[in-house]
């Protein structure tokens, strides 16, 4: 029971002298690990040659079957974040980060077994289901803690953590390639061993995060910080219960805002390499296209910190207005950049688009906090993540389907993406209006003082160590 009580919220209350700047690295320990999900594709090709080794044998898995691993993981990311959001909120960040580490690591170990036994269903279960739950729990676990530690700069704080999710692939991708090269032999592809090593390393890393994370003591506030006495138009100082929040039109408008912003970005991110080569045949080589994808990932990561921090200054609603207005113009410019043959303009458009794609993820927790208060922001964020799952399925399908439809109807490959870009611009226009319609939540949804006290007592009861 000793270990279990160590995980309780009571044991994570910061002692005097604790610096709040310890919390972002704790959050990064988790987000840098689960960000590996963006680098899963490095295993695709090796996993199609597990039997044939140098080339795919008939018994080897097809690329289309392997594509389901990521889709299942993203689905379970959204589902687990929604279902366990309240559990994460009430149990505190340490318990959630510890559990996320277990799920994420177990996902790799079960997948390693799947590779070893050549059973694809084990990989669906491991990386897809278990890993997906680790993704969901890990993604939301530090969010509300960071918001509570940084009431003066919530955007910057959550931006830092969510930037880690974007940066996780930078570590995972070269590390996985290096490990596979180490474990490969002329008769064996080293995927299973790489999964085992990653599972163990990620477990250790995430548990370090769980060990160093703390929640602020009740009533704590940063030195010199005075909460605004007069409530601002779109920033409430009241709390709204998670299941009331998801009944409000504001929640669903923000859901669409996130979904549309992500749909526009995620489809392009998946097709960036092929798109750049097809739009500029002979001018962008496969090697240069790989560099282009790397550049997009870098701006995806940097945008998370930049835009979320900017939102602390200009406000969340205005930040999303920037995403939708600038994004629309840039998506319209892309076909023009192709028609005049300007690689520089094409690259510039997409790096800015990718920064705003990442920025959309990183700014949304602070947007939720502004609209629904701090108490249940983690759980509400969990529900909102379903928008990402939805976009993760529809974005790539939309881009691939429209491209194929264009090519089937005789459109040259270089122009096959023009319609897609215009549709993406259209989606962003819809997003702009969804954001425009967001107003302050009606006072009838606010928790009364009595309800706040009851909720605090419930949390205290949940987080009491067993037998205490």
């Amino acid at each position: 029971m000793g270990l279990l009580s160590f995980l309780n919220r009571d044991h994570t209350i910061a002692e005097p002298g604790y610096s709040r700047w310890m919390v972002p690295p704790a959050a990064l320990c988790v987000h840098l690990c689960i960000g590996q999900a963006y680098a899963l594709s490095v295993f695709n090709l090796p996993m199609t040659k597990l039997i044939g080794i140098t080339q795919s044998a008939p018994e080897d898995w097809a690329l289309t079957d392997l594509g389901w691993i990521f889709s299942i993981a993203i689905f379970f990311l959204g589902a687990s974040a929604a279902v366990f959001g309240r559990w994460v909120e009430e149990g505190g960040p340490r318990r959630a980060m510890f559990t996320a580490g277990l799920c994420w690591s177990a996902g790799f170990l079960v997948s390693a077994l799947g590779v070893y036994a050549h059973q694809l269903w084990l990989i669906y279960l491991g990386y897809g289901v278990l890993g997906g739950c680790g993704l969901g729990l890990g993604y939301i676990s530090p969010v509300s803690t960071l918001i509570k530690w940084f009431p003066d700069r919530p955007g910057m704080a959550t931006g830092m953590a969510i930037m880690g999710f974007g940066g996780g692939a930078f570590i995972a991708s070269p590390l996985s390639v290096w490990l596979m090269a180490k474990f490969s032999t002329p008769t064996h592809v080293g995927v299973a061993e790489t999964f085992v090593v990653l599972g163990v390393v990620y477990l250790a890393f995430m548990w370090v995060g769980a060990a160093i994370v703390r929640v602020p003591a009740p009533g704590w506030k940063p030195e010199g910080y005075t909460p605004p006495l007069v409530e601002q138009k779109l920033i409430t100082n009241k709390d709204i219960y998670v299941y009331d929040a998801i009944k409000t039109p504001q929640f669903w408008l923000i859901w669409w805002v996130l979904c549309l912003n992500v749909t526009a970005g995620i489809g392009v991110l998946g097709q960036a390499s092929a798109m750049s080569q097809e739009m500029f045949p002979g001018r962008i080589s496969p090697v240069a296209a790989a560099g282009f994808v790397g550049l997009l990932s870098l701006f995806n990561m940097l945008g998370r910190f930049f835009w979320a921090s900017t939102s602390d200054i200009i406000g969340r609603k205005n930040t999303y207005f920037c995403f939708f207005a600038i994004g629309t113009v840039l998506y319209i410019l892309v076909p023009w950049a192709g028609s005049i043959g300007s690689v520089a303009l094409f690259v510039l458009c997409f790096v800015v688009i990718m920064s705003m794609y990442g920025g959309g993820f990183a700014t949304v927790p602070a947007y939720l906090r502004d609209m629904f208060g701090t108490r249940y922001v983690g759980a509400i964020h969990g529900w909102l993540i379903t928008a990402w799952s939805m976009a993760g399925i529809f974005g790539p399908v939309l881009v691939n389907y429209i491209r194929q439809y264009q090519i089937d109807h005789g459109v040259a490959k270089a122009q096959a993406y023009n319609t897609t870009m215009h549709i993406m611009a259209g989606l962003l226009v819809i997003g702009f209006f969804c954001n425009f319609m967001i107003k302050a939540v009606h006072a009838r949804y606010h928790m009364s003082d009595h309800e706040v006290e009851d909720a605090a007592a419930e949390v205290a009861a949940v987080s009491k160590p067993a037998g205490a």
Partner: protein, 41 residues
Amino acid sequence: MATANQQSTMKLKLILAWGFVGIPLAWGVIQTLANAMRLFQ
């Protein structure tokens, strides 16, 4: 009030914690930048 000893311990913890996440991240960013440079070659 935190003592001077507590403050210096916390500073050390901060350096260790940020180094623990910052060093791998910086390594990953450098690798990615090196790849991204191929676009401009």
